[in-house]
C-alpha cells in the first residue's frame, strides 16, 4: 500500500445533490461532508435550482461536475458554455470543477451522451491542448473523469489508462476516477479493472465516483440507477490501497432513493476507507471538528 496521502484536498465523503433532496438537505442539514452538483442544472437563469444551490453552498463544500464540455470533440470549444461555467464557479466557489474525457457533440448536434474517444496520439494532443485552453480560461485545473464505454476503436493504439495518464500529464490536469465506470468498461472490453487502477498515476487522482450499473451478462450498462454492487465496493477498496484518501462520493442519476438510502451507501464507503487506511479516522475527526458537524455515527 502506498502511504496515505491526506492532502488538503481530501474533502471526505460526499453525495451528488439531486433536486428531489433539496428540501431534505436544507431542512435537516444532514451529516454529509460535501456535495457535488451538476453544473448544467444551475446554468438556467434562475428559479428553484439556483435558490437551493446558493442556500446549500453556504453550508457545505461544493464541487461542480459537468457533462457537456465535450472536451474531445473536433468542434471548436463552446466559449458560451465555458463563460457560463466560469460565472457559476464564481457564484458558487466550488472546491473544484470536473467533466468527462469524452465527446458529446459534433457540428452542433448533441448526443447528450458521453461518447468514447479513440486512444491515439492524435487524440491525446487534441484533448490536452483543449484542456489547457479551458484551464487557462477558468484559471484553475480541472478534473477529467473516465467514462463507461461499450465500443472500442480499431484505430486505438494504447490502453485507456495509458491514454488517460498521457492526457492528464500533457494537459497538467487532475483525474476523477469513476470506479463503477472502470468496472463497466472492464467487463465490456475484457480487461482487468485492477490493472487499470494500478496503471493510473496516483498524484493526479483527486476524486472518486461510486455508482451502480445494469448487468446484462455479455454487456454491462452504466445506468447509475442502482445501489453500488459488491464488485464495485471491492474495486473501491483496491483503489484506496493504491491512491490513499481520495474524496469519495456516491453518484446516483436515476431511480433515486430516499436520502437515507444514499447516506447508508456513503456509510459503507466510509467504513471501507477507515478499514483500509490507517489514520483516516483521526483525520476525519479533525475535519469534523473544523466544520462543527458530526461526520460519524459512532459505530465505526
Amino acid at each position: 500500500m502506498t502511504e496515505t496521502a491526506l492532502t488538503q484536498d481530501f474533502l471526505g465523503f460526499g453525495l451528488g445533490l439531486r433536486t428531489n433532496h433539496f428540501d431534505h438537505v436544507l431542512n435537516t442539514r444532514p451529516d454529509i461532508d460535501w456535495f457535488e452538483v451538476l453544473s448544467e442544472n444551475y446554468m438556467v437563469a434562475g428559479g428553484k435550482p439556483r435558490y437551493y444551490l446558493e442556500s446549500i453552498a453556504e453550508q457545505y463544500p461544493i464541487v461542480m461536475h459537468g457533462v457537456s464540455m465535450s472536451i474531445g470533440s473536433t468542434d471548436p470549444l463552446d466559449m458560451e458554455y465555458l463563460t457560463a461555467l466560469k460565472k457559476l464557479a464564481n457564484d458558487v466557489q466550488p472546491k473544484w470543477i470536473s467533466d468527462h474525457i469524452c465527446w458529446t457533440s459534433i457540428h452542433d448536434v448533441n448526443s447528450h451522451d458521453l461518447l468514447p474517444l479513440p486512444y491515439t496520439e492524435e487524440t491525446i494532443n487534441h484533448v490536452a491542448e483543449r484542456v489547457r485552453t479551458v484551464q487557462d480560461f477558468l484559471g484553475r485545473r480541472i478534473l477529467l473523469e473516465n467514462v463507461s464505454s461499450y465500443l472500442s476503436y480499431k484505430d486505438s493504439t494504447m490502453d485507456e489508462w495509458t491514454f488517460l495518464n498521457a492526457v492528464a500529464e500533457q494537459a497538467d490536469c487532475l483525474v476523477l476516477l469513476d470506479i463503477n465506470n472502470i468496472y463497466v468498461s472492464a467487463r465490456n472490453h475484457h480487461f482487468d479493472p485492477v490493472t487499470y487502477l494500478n496503471k493510473i498515476e496516483p498524484k493526479r487522482v483527486q476524486q472518486f465516483h461510486l455508482a451502480g450499473h445494469s448487468d446484462y451478462g455479455d454487456y454491462v450498462i452504466d445506468t447509475h440507477d442502482h445501489d453500488v454492487p459488491d464488485s464495485v465496493w471491492d474495486l473501491y477498496g483496491t483503489a484506496l490501497e493504491r491512491f490513499g484518501a481520495v474524496s469519495t462520493m456516491i453518484e446516483r442519476d436515476g431511480n433515486i432513493p430516499e436520502f437515507s438510502g444514499l447516506e447508508q451507501e456513503l456509510n459503507i464507503a466510509r467504513d471501507i476507507a477507515i478499514k483500509t487506511l490507517p489514520g483516516l479516522q483521526t483525520h476525519l475527526d479533525g475535519l469534523n471538528k473544523n466544520s462543527n458537524r458530526n461526520v460519524f455515527d459512532g459505530k465505526s
Binding site: 428553484k48 459534433i106 448526443s111 461518447l115 465500443l151 480499431k154
Partner: protein, 268 residues
C-alpha cells in the same frame, strides 16, 4: 485510419439514423461499423445499438417529461409516432435538453398528419409556457404599498416592470381546459375551436407555477402595461370597455391583483 473528426462524424450519423425507416442506414452503419472492434457483426451491432437507442430514449423521455399531458392526450401509439418523427426532424442542437422540445409546437402545427388536430400544437405551446415560467430568473417583487406611497401626481405616468416568469398564452381552442382535465385525470372535452382564449402564466413567490384565464379587457390591459404604457394611457384605453367612472376602478383592481400575485417587479 480515420481522423478523429471523421470518426466523430460517422459515429453521430450512426446515432441519428432511424434504424426503422432510414434507407441510407446500411451505408451509415457499415461506414462506422468498420471502425470499431467487434467479435462478430452481431456484437458490433449490439455495441452501436446501445448508443443509438440511448440517444432516442433520452429524447423520448425529455418529450414525455416536458409534455406529459400532450402525451396522455395522444395515447401511446400516436405519442410514439410524434416522438420518432420529431426526433428525426430535429436532431438535438442544444447543449441542454431543456430546449429540445422548443420546436415541438410549430412541428405539430406544420406536420401533414398532426396539423389535422390544431389543438395538439396548442397544448404543446401551453406546456412550453409553463416550463418557461418555471425556469425564469428569480427577481424581487414590488408590493401595492409602494404604489400607494407615490404622490398622486406621479400616478398617471407610472409604468410597471413585470416578473420575468410572466407569460401570456393565447389560442383559438379549449387546449388549456383539455390540459387541466388531463391533469385532474379526467377525460378532456371534445376539441372546440370556436373560442379565443388568453391566459396569464407566472411563477409565484412560493416558487409554484400558476395560471389564470384573462378576459378580453384584462388581456388588453396587461399587454399594454407589458409594452410599457403608462397608467393614464391604460385608463384611457379602458374607456373602450367601461364608462369614465368604472374605467379607473377596473384598472386599479387589476393592478392590485397583480401586486398580490407577485407579478410586478418594480414601478417605473
Amino acid at each position: 485510419m480515420a481522423s478523429l473528426k471523421q470518426t466523430q462524424e460517422l459515429f453521430m450519423a450512426y446515432i441519428l439514423s432511424d434504424k426503422s425507416t432510414d434507407n441510407a442506414q446500411d451505408d451509415k452503419c457499415s461506414a462506422f461499423t468498420s471502425l470499431i472492434t467487434a467479435k462478430s457483426d452481431e456484437d458490433g451491432q449490439t455495441r452501436l445499438g446501445i448508443y443509438a437507442s440511448a440517444y432516442r430514449l433520452r429524447l423520448i423521455e425529455t418529450i414525455e417529461t416536458d409534455h406529459e399531458m400532450l402525451g396522455i392526450y395522444l395515447g401511446d401509439e400516436l405519442f410514439d409516432k410524434m416522438a420518432q418523427e420529431y426526433i428525426n426532424a430535429h436532431p438535438s442542437s442544444y447543449r441542454s435538453l431543456r430546449h429540445f422540445c422548443d420546436a415541438l409546437p410549430p412541428f405539430l402545427q406544420d406536420d401533414a398528419f398532426f396539423s389535422q388536430y390544431p389543438i395538439l400544437s396548442h397544448i404543446a405551446a401551453f406546456e412550453r409556457r409553463l416550463l418557461n415560467a418555471f425556469d425564469a430568473e428569480e427577481q424581487s417583487r414590488a408590493s401595492f404599498s409602494e404604489l400607494e406611497q407615490l404622490a398622486p401626481e406621479h400616478w398617471p405616468e407610472s409604468r410597471f416592470r413585470f416578473h420575468s416568469s410572466v407569460q401570456i398564452f393565447k389560442c383559438q381552442s379549449n387546449a388549456v381546459e383539455s390540459w387541466q382535465a388531463l391533469k385532474n385525470q379526467q377525460t378532456p372535452p371534445q376539441p372546440d375551436y370556436s373560442i379565443a382564449c388568453a391566459w396569464l402564466l407566472w411563477r409565484g413567490e412560493e416558487r409554484l407555477t400558476e395560471f389564470i384565464s384573462l378576459t378580453e379587457y384584462q388581456l388588453v390591459l396587461l399587454e399594454g402595461f407589458l409594452q410599457g404604457q403608462s397608467l393614464a394611457q391604460q385608463c384611457e384605453l379602458m374607456l373602450n370597455y367601461f364608462d369614465e367612472e368604472q374605467a379607473p376602478t377596473k384598472v386599479l383592481q387589476a393592478i392590485r391583483a397583480w401586486f398580490e400575485m407577485g407579478i410586478i417587479r418594480a414601478i417605473a
